[in-house]
Chain length 221, copies 2
Amino acid sequence: MTASKSELAYTVIKDKILSGAYSPGYRLVLSTLAGQLGVSVVPVREAIRRLEAESFITFERNVGATVAGIDPTEYLYTMQTLSIIEGAATALSAPLITQPDIDRAREVNARMRACLDDFDPVRFTALNLDFHSVLFESCPNPHILDLVHRGWNRLKALRQSTFTYVPGRARESVAEHEELLRLLESGAPAADVERAARAHRAATLDAYLAHNANDGVPSPY
Amino acid sequence: MTASKSELAYTVIKDKILSGAYSPGYRLVLSTLAGQLGVSVVPVREAIRRLEAESFITFERNVGATVAGIDPTEYLYTMQTLSIIEGAATALSAPLITQPDIDRAREVNARMRACLDDFDPVRFTALNLDFHSVLFESCPNPHILDLVHRGWNRLKALRQSTFTYVPGRARESVAEHEELLRLLESGAPAADVERAARAHRAATLDAYLAHNANDGVPSPY
DNA sequence: TCTACGGTGATCGTATACGATTTCATACTC
DNA sequence: GAGTATGAAATCGTATACGATCACCGTAGA
């Protein structure tokens, strides 16, 4: 059950993009990568095309691949789409979530709250994913879950942790999490849960837009 | 500007799957396809991996590719996801849709109505896509549009035209279209438009489930 | 009759080689 | 000096070749 070399190339390149070793705009040359990885260009090419399909890189015929840049408009599209998908995912999960699930989520949220002073954005973002992952474990529709993960991946690729840039948003976020848990505990209607979950993601986007209003970030509306 | 052979292979194979020339379960062998297309196996392999990523086929290492089967559960997941995505897409488009757009959509819907007697499912389905495409032309978020098209593609691959199987659903659908147009014309709030558009797709799914209740179609709920 | 085993063919996975296309620097013309 | 032709270098695109892995099937033993 050895992993294929194509899989290896995919994993390594993706990790280097996510970790920042390959910054946006970095030029990926097939033969160079092949040499570094100790494989031929064929599996590297396959990995590149796969990463392109997942929007980690852009690829132009006969020209080559470059790590996808941080595009504020792209960030905006992704956040808007995520607000819709996460809203639906939370609503679908709601009737299946048990009290132990909620307890676990609340515990994660407590760790996030503990993080608020001497703020660590990386740790906070990781805990944030944990929090929502707990809620989504019950989601009965795997397609929707897949879309959630795609969105998260895209955000990672954009490396836009809004919490990093908008002061105070992290604290708001923790409060909204608690509110969401109360809704779920009380057996609120799915429509209410969906509205709250959607608003939670949208608020992060709005905070980002308001904070960068003078920085030439375009609005898609 | 000649298309790459990989692109050619992708298009040809995908078309054959969508048209039914390659039925679900059909075994796709790289070398055979390469021979038929007059290219080598490398671009065919790339096309296959791409089709796999888009769920048209399944692929197993060292074993090969087979055309994805018709799975009622998969159909259900897809329809549920589409109802959410299409609802959001319609709501986002709503404020940007002009009266000429609505007139065009209404004209398409009239052609659908004309189709109702001596019913042609293929033509009806095509017109149905046209109808919604008109509404989505204004959608400001390309990611969401992309998800809509993915869903439509998957339905084509499943070749599950619900209209074919549920008597009377086509007529209901035409009526719901008219209702949707009235909402858009009256400048109804985005939330109302979203609810209506989502319900439109969900109603098709519900009709399918009700109609096949005794045929062992599993429920995801 | 059933199961374990091993051989054989089919198919995929990857390396290598070479042709096709693009890019960029340079020289040339107006 | 601006714009354009030209050539070489870099890079991708694809063909071919061969090794690796798996499924299938016949056989032997219990």
